[in-house]
Point group: C2
Chain length 147, copies 2
């Protein structure tokens, strides 16, 4: 399964270390607000998809990326890539050839965010059936006017 | 720091187990598409915020929730809660009192998703400075016309 098998033992190990490192309870409360802000930026479907594709494929051109990131519009992909570049998650390289060739690859920071998301991918793969059943039950109740 | 200290040792342990469980490589490719769909639904700022607040506060009324989830609009909160209920992540209880009292709490599935996101919170807390510096550098280059 594409979405999950590209995690190497090292990445899994890194994700484990993330999960194991509990921060001290007396951290500056302003950091809490900043973390929320940052989470808001990275907890985004397209950011996660781009992370996944670039983790798996290395350096990729825009056109290929738009095919690999299933269902993304050109505008949304451009916006996501620019934001990820600004956050230091990826590097954009313009090759001075004709026609110009622009490639994107993850930085070490981007790769580490990919590892941090690993637990969410595994959760989704493990709980698909559970979620499907919940949806069916919910829709059944809603359609019979039970809500 | 609110955002992180509410993780118990058990939750951290659970997140570690998620990170450690590598799924077999020969999974049905349709599952990959379903995982992407599910990820698209849960990798959302407001879903993550609601998960965080309910993990920390247990059962919470709508009005209180709208104050605890910083910056959320009433419409967006209603939509997020309904989607999370449909996915089986939370339970909505209507108490037959006057005025009606509606409370929300996470299911076991919702709590497990919270644990799966643990690595992302830790990543954000650890890499704030890194991201800040990247943004400053990016904005500096952008403003001097270097792009």
């Amino acid at each position: 399964m594409k979405a999950l098998t590209h995690f190497t033992t090292e990445e899994i190990e890194k994700a484990r270390r993330y999960a194991a490192s509990i921060p001290p309870p007396d951290l500056d409360p302003r950091i809490g607000a900043l973390v929320n802000d940052l989470i808001g930026r990275v907890a985004d479907k397209w950011t996660m998809m781009v992370l996944e594709v670039l983790t798996e494929h290395g350096e990729v051109r825009f056109t290929r990326l738009s095919k690999l990131v299933d269902g993304v519009s050109q505008k949304m992909l451009t916006q996501t890539l620019r934001q990820m570049e600004r956050d230091g998650l990826l590097v954009r390289t313009v090759h001075p050839v004709v026609p110009p060739k622009v490639e994107y690859r993850l930085t070490a920071l981007g790769l580490s965010l990919g590892s941090a998301f690993c637990g969410v991918w595994v959760w989704a793969a493990e709980n698909l059936d559970h979620v499907e059943r919940a949806r069916q039950a919910f829709d059944g109740i809603a359609s019979t006017g039970g809500r």
